[in-house]
């Protein structure tokens, strides 16, 4: 028995390498043939080989049941030369922010970066230029509109009809054609005094002649009050004083009349 065991052990030891090579499928063709031949003639080796096979199956079962389903743990390396840690789970799909990606994109193409910068600057300059131009246009338009409004008190006002103040030897009577009955004729006799004649146009386009602005013209106020539009025209027009004599009374009166015209509105 002991000799058999010794022989068994010796043969097993002799075939130890062949046994494991054959068991794990790494024996070459010659080794396979030799070992298979030996197994047929050696019951001990056959039994041992069978036992090894069972153990290997158990270990494989242990690995399959408890290890294969495990995920590889995340390995974190504290690098000394970089910020933070290396993580094997996140390095492949690195969480670089959109900003990093954008920066990398622009850093790879300097020509594109330069042209894009130039285009941005040109666009900004263009916007500023057009903005200034638009604001200037608006100012001019606003000014023109303002003037038009002021002079458009009557639809038929034109240069010829603009009332002018001139000192003439105007007739005593002045005729104002009625306009919707809103006008009143005023005339004052004052032959001794020079009168200021004002020509105005009413809203229907009729020329109202000879508003005789004399010293005694308390009724001008009434006339003026009767036709606001005439007065509106009148007040908007800057009176031209031609050959104004330096007469204190007359200048004062004119001032009074102008003031009254403004008040009536």
């Amino acid at each position: 028995m002991l000799d058999n065991n010794n022989n068994h052990n010796n043969s097993s030891c002799a075939f130890a390498e062949q046994t494991v090579s054959y068991l794990y499928g790494e024996a070459n063709a010659q080794e396979k043939t030799v070992f298979e031949t030996h197994l047929k003639s050696c019951a001990a080796c056959s039994q041992e080989f069978a036992g090894f096979g069972a153990i290997r199956s158990s270990i494989s079962e242990w690995r399959n049941e408890e290890f294969l389903s495990l995920a590889t743990p995340s390995i974190e390396i504290p690098y000394e030369n970089t910020q933070g840690f290396y993580n094997s789970k996140t390095v492949s799909h690195a969480s670089s922010s959109w900003f990093d990606k954008l920066r990398n994109f622009w850093s790879h193409s300097p020509a594109l970066t330069a042209s894009a910068s130039f285009a941005v600057i040109a666009i900004c300059i263009g916007i500023i230029f057009f903005a200034n131009k638009s604001s200037n246009d608006l100012e001019v338009a606003g000014f023109d509109n303002k003037n038009t409004e002021k002079t458009f008190a009557s639809p038929t006002v034109d240069e010829e009809m603009k009332p002018t103040l001139s000192t003439t030897d105007a007739p005593e009577k002045s005729i104002a054609e009625p306009n919707n009955g809103n006008q009143e004729m005023v005339s004052q006799k004052n032959p001794t005094r020079k009168s200021t004649v004002v020509k105005a146009v009413n809203n229907s386009g009729n020329t109202v002649k000879g508003l005789n602005l004399t010293a005694n013209t308390p009724k001008i106020k009434e006339v003026n009050s009767g036709n606001k539009k005439m007065l509106a025209v009148q007040t908007n027009i800057i009176p031209r004083l031609n050959n104004v004599e330096e007469d204190e009374d007359e200048s004062l009166r004119l001032a009074e009349l102008l003031d009254d015209g403004g008040d009536i509105e």
């Binding site: 068991l23 242990w62 408890e66 390995i75 390396i77 504290p78």
Partner: protein
């Protein structure tokens, strides 16, 4: 690209503070090292810790790495040492997996009829027995078994990794299988 370089070239770049190169090494070996640690320790949490410590230790000792050894040998050596450290630490804390397994051995094998009739329980018990048997092997024998069964390396690869002759590797595996057979045959449960 880093993927086209050998392990030794990557280590050389990593020595020059190229973190990306070392990252490639980690990516190549993390699964195998984790498998080795799991086979050596038998527990997922301890295996994860040991794998993490392996790569950290490797990174710290990059400058001490000599080009005469293979990177795989270097990493496996560090991993086995880390497994021993973790196991020793667990023993010190009286939370040793192996000790627990040893204490429960008799309870498990008092009588088969006391075991749960459920197949999953039976399977779990069987797996626990195998795990315990492997853990009881000497470190050098256990490492060869784990590298063969868990890392699925060839004899030549194991020989290159451990820097040992091919015959030595085969002989160690034979001896390990023989001891496992003796341990398992003593147990009343069928192994397969």
């Amino acid at each position: 690209m880093a993927t086209d370089l050998t392990d030794e070239q990557l280590v050389e770049q990593a020595v020059n503070e190229n973190s990306e190169a070392f990252g490639e090494i980690v990516k190549r070996w993390e699964r195998k090292i984790f498998a080795l640690c799991f086979g050596m320790l038998g527990r997922e949490d301890e295996a994860g810790d040991a794998a993490q410590e392996t790569f950290i230790s490797a990174y710290k000792s990059l400058k001490n790495f000599r080009g005469d050894a293979k990177v795989s040998s270097w990493l496996h050596r560090i991993a086995v040492n880390q497994c021993l450290t973790v196991k020793r630490r667990a023993k010190t804390r009286s939370e040793s997996f192996l000790d627990d397994e040893n204490n429960q051995e008799e309870k498990v094998f008092v009588a088969p009829s006391r075991l749960s009739p459920a197949r999953t329980t039976e399977q779990n018990e069987r797996l626990k027995i195998v795990r315990q048997a492997v853990n009881s092997l000497p470190v050098d024998l256990r490492q060869v078994v784990v590298m063969k069964e868990f890392e699925e390396m060839t004899f030549q690869e194991i020989s290159d990794t451990l820097d040992l002759p091919l015959s030595t590797i085969k002989s160690r595996l034979y001896t390990a299988l023989k001891q496992l057979r003796m341990k398992l045959e003593r147990m009343p449960l069928e192994v397969v």
